[in-house]
């Protein structure tokens, strides 16, 4: 090292450490590390791109879809503009001016067939709108002024205030309608109202999904803990054999598993036959263990058990048997040694397993659909229905968003109570 550079290093006149060539040391260091950083970034770039494309963007899209409502304004722009000045509380349907604009919009919409799409969208708010738009579409080209009478001639619903109130309410480009539906509420001319008691379903299903998921998580824990303990404390060869048994559910197809459950659990099934045979129950009172909540809990516990056992196992594997021995040598009986010494050290495994199982189970829908009957279905079954059957993707997105929010809330609560760093997957 030359003496000048030593001067720079030892006696920075301005308080800034400088490298040999006089550039500030920090800058010099940053430059030296830049290549390194760039390299690391390039290494993770494919994964980053993959995650953005396949995970973050779909989620952002879902979040957006749950409030997106541009279709009304795009399809009938003039009508939407004119309806702004119309007040449904007057009890009068809009005037000819609005109908004329609506006619013009409608003719245009009919040409590119977007009127039926708009009808479907409005049908979410008011059943019958889809039919009304389809029916009107077929006649709209031949209409003559005055348009108000012409429309009412096609269907008298066009003369009703409520029809126009629905269109007016659906006009904004963002809507809370899907979220309201997802919470069993509805926006009417009197503001937001809950649906009648017997029509509410989503809140009920959210609650049931949560409760059943907790039950499934707890039963996975109760069944998985002793098995994981056994696996962790057996010689490697034996535990590998048993691990294969634990993983077996992973490797069987869903159809095989479902058939197996049916054969086992149905009223004329193996378990009932056995119980009748040994005389625990009589033939007329066979247990109902499938097509209800019991079926869902049994089947899901079976499927998700490995997700509980594996993290538990990997954590327990690291708990040296000398801890329990130490506790015993210090005077603790078997239970105290387990509860005060072994159990607390296995908590990270419980946390990881419980989070995995819980999150997987609130998102499951195939198994509940197959063995859950009516009392064992989850909110995800309704989401799947709206995605693939009713095509009400906005509502599906709103339900999905709420589910996502619930999971994040639970994460937050978990973090507050147990601490997220207290989770160990292996």
């Amino acid at each position: 090292m030359s003496s000048t550079s030593t001067d720079h290093m030892d006696a920075p006149s301005d308080g800034i450490m400088r490298a040999a060539d006089g550039t500030p040391l920090k800058k010099s260091l940053a430059r030296a590390l830049r290549r390194e950083k760039l390299r690391s970034f390039l290494l993770i770039l494919p994964l980053l791109a993959f995650i953005i494309l396949s995970f973050l963007m779909p989620i952002a899209d879902m979040l957006f879809r749950s409030v997106e409502n541009g279709i009304v304004k795009e399809t009938i722009p003039q009508t939407v503009a004119l309806l702004k000045t119309w007040d449904p509380t007057t009890g009068e349907a809009p005037g000819e001016e609005v109908f004329a604009a609506f006619h013009e919009d409608f003719v245009k919409a009919y040409k590119d067939k977007s009127h039926t799409r708009l009808g479907l969208r409005l049908n979410y708010d008011e059943p019958g709108m889809s039919g009304l738009f389809r029916k009107t579409g077929r006649k709209v080209a031949k209409m003559e002024p005055p348009y108000k009478d012409a429309f009412i001639k096609v269907d008298k619903d066009w003369g009703k205030v409520e029809t126009w109130a629905v269109i007016k309410r659906a006009s904004p480009v963002l809507t809370d309608g899907y979220f309201l539906s997802a919470l069993d509420a509805k926006r009417t001319s009197n503001g937001i109202e809950m649906l009648p008691e017997k029509e509410r379903i989503y809140l009920f299903l959210f609650k049931r999904t949560m409760i059943l998921s907790i039950v499934i998580t707890v039963s996975c824990l109760l069944l998985g803990y002793p098995i994981a303990y056994l696996l962790a404390n057996l010689p490697l060869r034996t535990s590998n054999m048993l691990m294969i048994l634990v993983l077996l559910p992973f490797w069987t197809s869903l159809l095989v598993r479902t058939s197996a459950w049916k054969v086992l659990l149905q009223q004329q099934g193996v378990i009932n036959d056995f119980l009748v045979w040994i005389g625990v129950i009589d033939d007329a009172n066979r247990l109902i263990m499938i097509n209800n909540q019991t079926g869902t809990i049994i089947a899901m516990t079976h499927i998700l058990l490995p997700f509980m056992i594996l993290p538990l196992f990997s954590v327990m594997k690291t708990i040296s048997p000398s801890y329990v021995r130490a506790a015993k040598s210090l005077g603790a009986n078997d239970w105290t040694a387990f509860w005060r010494v072994y159990f607390p050290q296995s908590v990270p495994g419980i946390g990881a397993g419980a989070i995995l199982v819980f999150i997987l189970s609130i998102g499951y829908y195939i198994t509940p659909e197959l063995v859950g009957g009516t009392s064992g279905i989850f909110i995800s079954n309704r989401i799947a229905y709206h995605i693939s059957t009713s095509l009400n993707w906005g509502l599906a997105a709103a339900l999905g968003t709420i589910l996502l929010a619930l999971v994040m809330l639970l994460f937050y609560v978990y973090d507050k109570i147990v601490g997220i760093d207290n989770v160990k997957l292996g």
Partner: protein, 375 residues
Amino acid sequence: MKLKLMLLATVAGVAFAAPAVTEELPPCDNCSDSMTIVSWGGAYSKSQLKAYHEPYQALTGITIVNDESSNEAVAKLRAMNEANNITWDLVDVEGPDAVRLCDEGLAMPINADELLAPAPDGTPASEDFGDSLISDCFIPQIVFSTTFGYRTDVAAWNGKVPTSVCDVFDLENFPGKRALEKRPKKNIEWALLCDGVAKADLYDVMATDEGIDRALAKLDTIKSDVIWWSAGADTPQLLADGEIVMGSTYNGRLFSVIEEQHQPVAMLWDYQVFDFDGWIIPAGLPEDRLNRVKHYLRFATDTQRLADQAKYISYGPARASSAPLVGKHAELGIEMAPHMPTDPANMKNILVNNIDWWADYSDDVDAKFQAWLAK
């Protein structure tokens, strides 16, 4: 319609009636030389393969790619449309889905008389297909029905057998578990018909909240004895296992349980509900692919071809002119006509699904129905 698990196996190599139309098949100008056809898979796809695809391929030498995605066709078509990348050329869907796809602008509207061949006697296609043309975009193939099957060996019935769909609601004379579909459609109709609503007023009654409540109240009377199914294979299996004494499903499934598996099960055709299954052409196909689809459709939906399909599966051809041509089952050798939902003996009391009504009300009624089910 979940026909893909239909157990009606077809026999490879069964001599196929050579199409008499070889020389009539017009040339195809500016046509792609392969097409992707989406259907339900299983025995149903096989019947299409035997009756439509194989003869068409033999005549034209093109490649037909089979995709078994009809179950999720509606959602997938919407996704393809949003991505602006339509990879399917022809999609087999149920009637209500066709209506929805048409409304969404995802299916191409057609002119039946232009696109489809007339009957051999010259009757235009629109007349020959008649009521089955339920949507501007729909090209019907078959009529299938949802109806009840019951076990013939139920001791508790004291020798009685159900003769009316209302016996499903009669727990006193016909005790035991019954299977119904986990959807409101058809169940609501049957409940109201058995609650005294006249067939003519049915859909008007259903359009009111009170009507739906009334139907649910009727279903309440048997709710605790119902197993709700979601896959068409469930009811036949439950019947065969003795888990239920009666249950609704598609007629083709019951045909298989009765005629192939020889289970002690019989059909109750009373108030069978007719539905149609057929093709839609996805909107926005490039010209050469569209030409190919049109060329294929004219061949595959003619009178003979629709009648041929019934050799392999017990669903009725959608053309009136095909009915007299329906022959024997290709494998079992039994006459297929009496097993068709369209056979006059089976059609004494039928209900045709009001697809337009369900298109308007299904979301609303489904929510109510599911809420009712869940409680």
